[in-house]
Every structure is written in C-alpha cells, then in structure tokens.
C-alpha cells in the first residue's frame, strides 16, 4: 500500500481524488487529504452564487461522506506546516506527522493585496473563500443599517473583480469598480470590447473608474474612502481587493523545491517538481513559466499527476494550454478564445461592433483567410462553443469569414451542423470530454437523454458553458440513430403540454390516473406531470383546485402560498386595488387575532403571513364572512389587475381605469393557466399602473384604449407589445378572451405570456392575424371556452370551508389537533418572521 498525501482541498485537489478513485490501481494506494479551510472543497468558480442563496452546501464539490465512502482520509481545518523530503514526511500545524510515498501540492493561491497605505483598515476584504464572503455580508448588513445608500468598491477590474462587483450589487450596496489599467479584464479583452462591456455594465448600475492608481485608503480605523491622487478621491464604506493572485508556494519554497522568480513551484510536463516524489498541480504549479488561473488546466494537471503516479508515463500536459474562457458576468456574456489580441503580422481581424446594443465580436483569421486564430465576444456569446471548436480543431471556415460573426441574412447558420465536428473535438474543456465520448455514450445505449449524457460523461458539470452544445449534440445523435427526441413533459409522458390539452379536451378525462393509464409511459406520475395535468383539467373542465387535491402543486393543494418555515400566507382578492375602510379594518382585525405578519404586496393587495395549516380555514371563514374571496395568489392563474386611480379622481385621467380594471379582474379570476397572469390598466399615458410590465396592459388614450400584450417583470423584464390602438371596452374583452385562451391552449408548462409570445413563430404579426383577423377560424371557439370559464367561476375557499371532506386536509397531524412544534418565530419591526434558516 503506497501512501499519497494531498496538500490542499480546493477544486483541483478534489479533482485529483475524484480522478484517482476511478482508476483500478486505486486499491494499491491510500490517500490522505489536508484542507486548511473548515469545509470540504467547494466550487470557487461559482462563488458569487453564495450571495444569492447563502447556501454553502450547494457549492460543495462532494460532501464529506464522499471521501469516507471512497476510503480517502479528509482532514479539514488543519494546515500542513512543513515537509521533510529526506524522511518523506509532512508535519501539520498541530504538530502531527504523516509519511508519504508521493506528495501532491495543490495549495492554490491567495489573493494578492497590494501594499497600499491603510489597506489594513476595517471594511477592507479579499474575495476568495466562503469565510471572506460571510465577513463581507456581516459588514454590509451593519453598513446598511446605518446608511441604506452605502457604497462599496472593488479594487481590480479583472474577471474576479467584476464577479465581486456583482456580489456588491447583490448585497444591496452601490457598486464601484476601480481598475489600474485603462480597460476592463485586461488579460482577456481589447480596448474596444472593454469599452462596450463598460457601457453595458454602467447601464445596469455599476460605476467604473479606469486608470486609477490607489495611493491610500482613507479613514480613521475603518475605511471611508480611497485616494487616487491630489483632489481625486472616492467615498466608499467598504473595499474588496481583487488585484490578482499569488501562488501559495511557501511549503515548497521552505523545503527547497525549485520555485519561479515571481513565485510558483516549477513543474515539468509530468507535473513533477524538482523532487520526483512531489507533484504540484493547479494555481501553484509554474508550468512553461506560467501560472494558469483557470479551472480547466488545473483539472488537466490533476489528471496527468494521477496517471503519472499509477505509471502511465505517456500522459503529459500539452505545451500549449488553451486559455479560452466564456462566462456570464452580471448577466453579460463575455468570451475570449485562442489568440484574442493578435498582431497584424500574424493575420487579420474582423470586428463587428454595435454600441447601442452593447455588442462586440472580433475574430482573428490567418492571412490566407483559412484558419480561425482567436477572438473576443461581448454581449452575445451564443456562438462561442462553435467558434471555439473551429479554432481548436483547425476546421475550415467560410470563404467570407465575416459570416461567422455577422447575423446571417437568410437565417441559415454559417457553422453547419454540430455533427460535423471531428470526434476528438473537446466539447467540455473543464472535464475534457470529447464529441466522440458524448456520441459513444448515446450510441452504446448508456444514455438516452441529456441528463444521462451529463451524468455518465460528466460533460457540463464544470462551468456549465458547454451545456447548450451537449444538448444539441445529444439530440442530433439521437436523431441520427432514428431515436425520436422526446419533447414530453417528463419521464411519464412523451406528449407535450399542447398535445395533452387536446387529448384531455377530446376524451373528456377528469382524473389524473385516466390520463396516465391511457397516454403515459407506465409509471406513476411525478411533481412535473401531476400539477400540469391538474391545471389542464381545471382549464378545460372549469374545475377548481379542490378537485383531486393530491395532484395539485404545493400551493394549490392548500389554497395558500407556502412560505419558508412551512406556514402559509393568505391573500384575499381586492379587485383593482379598490377597498372600503370597513374591509381594511376587517383585514386588520383578522391579522391581529391570528398574529399574522402583514404586508402590502407588489400587486397592491394585502398579504397575511405566518398562518399554520390548522388556522387557514378559520381565517378564511372570517374573511368570507366579511365579503372577501380567494385572491388566487397561490395559483398559476390571474393574480391582480393593477390600476391607477383614473378619471374618477385624477385630474389627468382619460378614462375610468379602476372600473375597467375591476371588471377585467372579476372576469378572469380563478382561471388556471400555464403560469400566473397579471394585468394593468392606466388612465392615461403617464402609466401609473405600470400596465406595460404586465401580461396584458391597457392605457387610456383619446378615443379608447391602447392594448399591450406579453409583458412581465421577473428575471427577464419585458415590455408588453402594442397590439391594438383606440379600441373600446367591448373590443378589449373580445381580444383578451381570444388571446388568453390561445395562450392557455398552446404555451409550454410554466411559460409566461412574454416567453410564449417571443417564441411564437411569426411573432406579433401572426398573433394579430389569429386574434384580430381570425386567420385560423378559431376565434369563436376561443371566446366560447373563455365565457364558459367565466360563467363557471366559483370561489374555491368558499367551496372548501363548506365541505367537511375537503376540510380534512387542513390539519398538521392526522392523529392530533396539535400544531407543528418545530415552528419558531422571531420579532422584526413590531411584527414576527420565521427564524432564519441556518
């Protein structure tokens, strides 16, 4: 049994273990891994996601149990302090000694903090570990409590610096980027692409300061600003230093291994250091006079070291390492590949720039115009995978290479087919998976869908950038094998939503099991198909969610919105946002009686939080007795029609927006749709109801209403498009009936109108032909179906509280009247909130 000691449990150190356990030779080795951080290796590439969910567990490469299961000893929170090369032992900071046959150094790097005066002040952070992030979050919370407009700067406008900029935004501080060079991402971008990126980042609220040399950090104890030169200062309350990395080579250096002048442990192409029993991989390895700060070369180094140790001498690092990279920075695509900046002596550049849309594309081609040598993409990197493959494999390019980056006039792709790639083309560079491996996994029957390809080849599990290409390749290979590519809703149905809609309508099914038995694949359903079919049956049969409640989605099942501690929130309908003082008082009294947290929602109604399952029917009984009804805030159905005050009160109003808003809300309440639907009605073009941000929006103008369709807020905000002008109330309702019904019939599951409309072949013009000109001859049917839904409306809460059988589900325990004793609330601003998740 040979002993291997791995020093460092970062991404590359972990990858070494992962690659090793896959080898049959592993049985002859015993691996001990040391990590200085308290937790097992995590995905540092996606560190900024921690700010979104603060879930350290989600970033883990593998849980601690994985190491145990594979017989690897993982020692976290203990630093290796010394190597004794003669006795082949290491000593830890806790003075424990371990012997090794092979030593693998994967200590990575530490952030470089430039020696600026005042850099030790409180409020100055580095961006590397989860502990760093936790420190920042705590400090930011303190700042915001004192000053909601607090500012934070990032020192360094490189790749990591911009990631840190996003973190600052997520923390709710005013973000500033301070860069020493005259451009952003100086290692990846040329000056023009940097300017395009800068415009884009500024448009989303990032403040960028270039060519700034920081002289000192200002402040007495804690940071209050940065000084760049005389009279040139920037007030900031927090600073994140992201000015590059330094390899953590102390261990190697102290034990006499050969190191580079500017740090890093020198390795040969076998990843061996100057001591043949010691390997170095990742960001401490100095290979070809270079430190490679990307994860893909680090993973390759880990694989080479594993192969060398088990005696596969032929496995070595290539001389040229591909430093191509694609990432999404704060929602902006940025990619560079091959030789991004190319001197004119080596070839020509073709550049496409459109600053109005924040787009920049540059490709560099050889003088004879036959080879792609590299390039830069900002704003839209959807062609990156193909361009990168063409570059890597030296594939032929079109006679006019400009076609590679210009939008094709005939809509045809200049790239040809993914199937044309050579088998050795590396599709996933993080995991080194080739096109051949992906196709083979499908051809030998190991995988029959994208998820299976990912799990058996590991393609797409690193940075995830290649996922679209893996999907294209999988689908193309399946097709070439004559296997139908499934567009079904889940493993239980090969049919899509539209087909299921037609089937249920024609056959008149009223139970989930009927649909599953007659049209499913023999399974028992799941959390994808059950709520979908529940929603379809509700739309088609005008049912409420009380029907067959066990197939309803989490919220529909209990007719309330489940919140983070498993309690629910209650939202009665307040059509158009119009409410009498008596009803307001009733809401207040009920909220007080049941000790509910109360807040006005984004849809201008009142949300009561913290109701237990047992309390829901009690609360609703009282609400209904005061004339309220369900607000369907929990359903994929109409939420609110938001209105401005309109011509009844407003001195600018052109029409009665409140009256019309109430009429529309009452018309469409309760109908089940592929996703939630929101409406808005504004009394004039000042648009106080924000109607153009809704699925349907109306704005009163001289001579009628302007109707806008297909808008939403959410992750991808989209303005609704102008559909018809100056139409009367009756025409609005006619068009809306047809539009909503057409959407409910044809959209994909969980697709809002905005996404549906955007992908509708023929676009807005086609939609007008169907709805206004009745090109498909279905307008009558659509109107009739909608009218049936409107006529059959019934408040499902009223239905539930009057039916003892339906009420049975509102108990936490089936065998006790007690409440969930796991619930803990803590006080917040005179109300209560759930105890935060740990």
């Amino acid at each position: 049994m040979k002993q291997i000691v791995v020093v460092g449990n970062g991404m590359v150190g972990y990858k070494f273990c992962e690659k090793f356990v896959e080898k049959p030779e592993f049985k002859d080795f015993k691996i001990t891994v040391f990590g200085e951080e308290p937790r097992p290796a995590y995905d540092r590439v996606h560190l900024s996601e921690f700010f979104e969910n603060q879930d350290a567990k989600a970033l883990e490469m593998a849980p601690a149990e994985w190491y145990a299961k594979n017989n690897i000893e993982l020692i976290t929170g203990e630093r290796v302090a010394d190597i004794n090369r003669t006795s082949k032992t290491i000593t830890t900071a806790q003075d424990r000694e371990f012997t090794y046959d092979y030593l693998v150094l994967a200590t990575g790097s530490a952030p470089f903090v430039p020696p600026i005066k005042g850099v030790e002040k409180e409020g100055v952070f580095v961006y590397r570990t989860i502990e760093d992030l936790e420190g920042m979050l705590a400090y930011a919370a303190k700042l915001k409590a004192k000053n909601p407009n607090a500012k934070a700067a990032v020192l360094g406008g490189g790749l990591l610096g911009l990631e840190a900029g996003k973190a600052v935004m997520d923390m709710g501080l005013e973000p500033h980027i301070v860069e020493f060079a005259s451009k952003l991402m100086p290692r990846q971008l040329d000056l023009r692409s940097s300017q395009v990126l800068q415009l884009k980042l500024e448009s989303i609220g990032l403040n960028i300061h270039l060519s700034k040399i920081t002289n000192q950090i200002l402040g007495n104890g804690s940071i209050v600003g940065m000084e760049f030169g005389e009279d040139d200062t920037l007030d900031v309350d927090m600073l994140i230093v992201s000015a590059g990395i330094r390899p953590r080579d102390e261990l190697g250096k102290n034990s006499g291994l050969e190191v580079g002048v500017r740090g890093g442990i020198v390795v040969n192409n076998k990843m061996q250091t100057s001591d043949e029993n010691i390997y170095a991989i990742g960001e401490i390895a100095l290979y070809n006079q270079m430190i490679y700060g990307l994860v893909a070369p680090g993973y390759d180094m880990a694989a080479v070291a594993v192969n060398q140790i088990i005696g596969q001498a032929k496995s070595v690092m290539p001389d040229d390492i591909d430093m191509s990279t694609k990432l999404k920075l704060i929602g902006v695509d940025v990619a560079s590949f091959g030789e991004p900046f190319m001197p004119a002596s080596k070839g020509h550049s073709i550049i496409f720039e459109n600053k109005t849309q924040h787009l920049y594309k540059r490709i560099n081609v050889s003088h004879d115009g036959k080879k792609l040598l590299g390039g830069i993409l900002v704003g839209d990197a959807s062609d990156y995978n193909m361009l990168h493959q063409i570059y890597l494999n030296g594939m032929a390019i079109p006679e006019d290479p400009a076609q590679l980056i210009l939008p094709a006039s005939d809509g045809a792709s200049a790239f040809g087919d993914v199937k044309d790639l050579p088998d050795e083309a590396q599709v996933c560079s993080c995991e080194s998976v080739t096109k051949g491996q992906i196709c083979a996994a499908i051809e030998n029957g190991e995988a029959t869908d994208v998820a299976a390809v990912v799990s058996c080849t590991k393609a797409g599990t690193g940075c995830g950038g290649c996922k679209p290409m893996v999907a294209d390749l999988t689908n193309a290979t399946l097709k070439s094998l004559g296997i139908e590519v499934k567009e079904g809703v889940c493993e239980h149905f090969d049919l899509n939503r539209q087909d299921l809609y037609k089937i249920i309508q024609v056959k008149g099914y009223t139970h989930f099991n009927e649909v599953l038995d007659n049209h499913g694949n023999g399974g028992h359903g799941c959390e994808l198909c059950k709520p979908l079919i529940a929603s379809l049956m509700a739309t088609i049969n005008a049912d409420t969610a009380n029907k067959e409640y066990a197939i309803q989605d989490s919220n529909d099942r209990f007719l309330a919105n489940i919140q983070r501690n498993g309690t629910y929130s209650v939202v009665p309908r307040v059509p158009g946002g119009e409410i009498t003082p008596d009803k307001l008082i009733a809401l207040g009294e009920i909220a007080k009686k049941y000790d509910l947290y109360t807040k006005v929602t984004g849809g201008v109604r009142i949300d009561l939080f913290g109701a237990t399952l047992n309390q829901l029917p009690l609360i609703w009984k009282e609400l209904i007795s005061h004339g309220f009804e369900s607000g369907h805030a929990y359903g994929k159905s109409l939420r609110t029609v938001k209105t401005c005050v309109g011509s009844t009160w407003c001195r600018y109003g052109m029409d009665e927006s409140v009256s019309f808003g109430i009429e529309l809300e009452n018309r469409y309440r309760g109908i089940r749709a592929p996703h939630k639907i929101k409406g808005g009605v504004s009394g004039c073009i000042r648009e106080c109801a924000e109607a153009r941000g809704k699925d349907f929006g109306l704005i009163a103008v001289e001579g009628g209403w302007n109707l806008y369709l297909g808008g939403n807020g959410g992750a991808n905000p989209r303005h609704a498009e102008l559909f018809a002008e100056q139409i009367d109330n009756e025409t609005v309702i006619k068009y809306l009936d047809r539009y909503l019904m057409f959407y409910m019939r044809t959209a994909k599951p969980l697709q809002r109108t905005a996404a549906w409309q955007e992908r509708l072949e023929g676009g807005l013009e086609y939609l007008k032909e169907v709805i206004i000109d009745d090109k498909l001859g279905i307008a009558d049917d659509l109107e009739k179906e909608m009218q049936t839904l409107v006529n059959k409306f019934e408040c499902e809460w009223t239905q539930a509280i009057n039916n003892p059988e339906m009420m049975k589900r509102f108990n936490h325990f089936v065998n006790s009247e007690e409440e969930d004793d796991n619930l803990v609330f803590v006080p917040m601003r005179d109300q209560k909130m759930p105890e935060p998740w740990k």
Binding site: A62, P63, E65, W66, E491, H492, N513, G523, H524, G525, C526, E527, C529, K530, P531, Y549, A550, I551, D553, S554, R557, F558, I562, R564, N565, G566, K808, R809, N811, H812, F813, V814, N815, S816, E818, D820, N822, W837, K838
Partner: protein, 125 residues
Amino acid sequence: MEEILDTYKTTKLEDVKIWFKAASIHDFPADGGACVKYKNKQIAVFNFARIGKWYACQNVCPHKMEMVLSRGMIGDDKGIPKVACPLHKKTFSLEDGENLNGDMDAIATYPVKIEEENVYIGFSD
C-alpha cells in the same frame, strides 16, 4: 438543527418493537400523504394507492429542516417511488430514503402495515 435529524433513524422491519396505530386508512388521500405524531416525532405517511403500497418517512426535509414532506407530491423516478418536498422539490426515495435529485443524506424511513383498515407505523423505540 442536527438534533432534529438525530431523532429520525431508519427502522427495518425486523427491528420493529412497537407498531403504533396512527389513524384510519380513510384519513389519508389516495396517492398523497399526511403527517402522524408519535411521541416527539413527526412521520410522513403516504398512501401510494396506484401501486397499493403504504410508505412512512421523517416529515422533516433535511434541506432546510422544515416539517413539510407529508405535504409533498408523490410519484416515481424511473420506477422508484418518491416524494418531492413542497418547498424546493428535492426528491427522496420512499423505499430507502435516498435523495434522488441531489447528494443530500438519505431520510429515515419506517415500515407500515395495514390491519382492519388502520394504518400502523413500526418503531424500534
């Protein structure tokens, strides 16, 4: 937090010492679940009517430690009966508690038997 999880340990049929009479079979929805209180434990019990089987597991989802699994939807993942947590749709095998769409620790499962239209859950303590 960890203490909650310590309360729940998978019980094998052969280790059952107590069969706890929980409720009538009519108190559970077809192809759905409800929660049973036993001493300081909360147990999710599912009536998988489609396959004529009953399952029991801890009610607490190990992801965020909330008592919610009994309110989850059930179904199957390539033939394995499962429950999906209503909070974030983490799925767990009802047979052995394994987390099917992630690498969380398995949840504890318990044997169930039906006698004279009553549901009994098996515990070792």
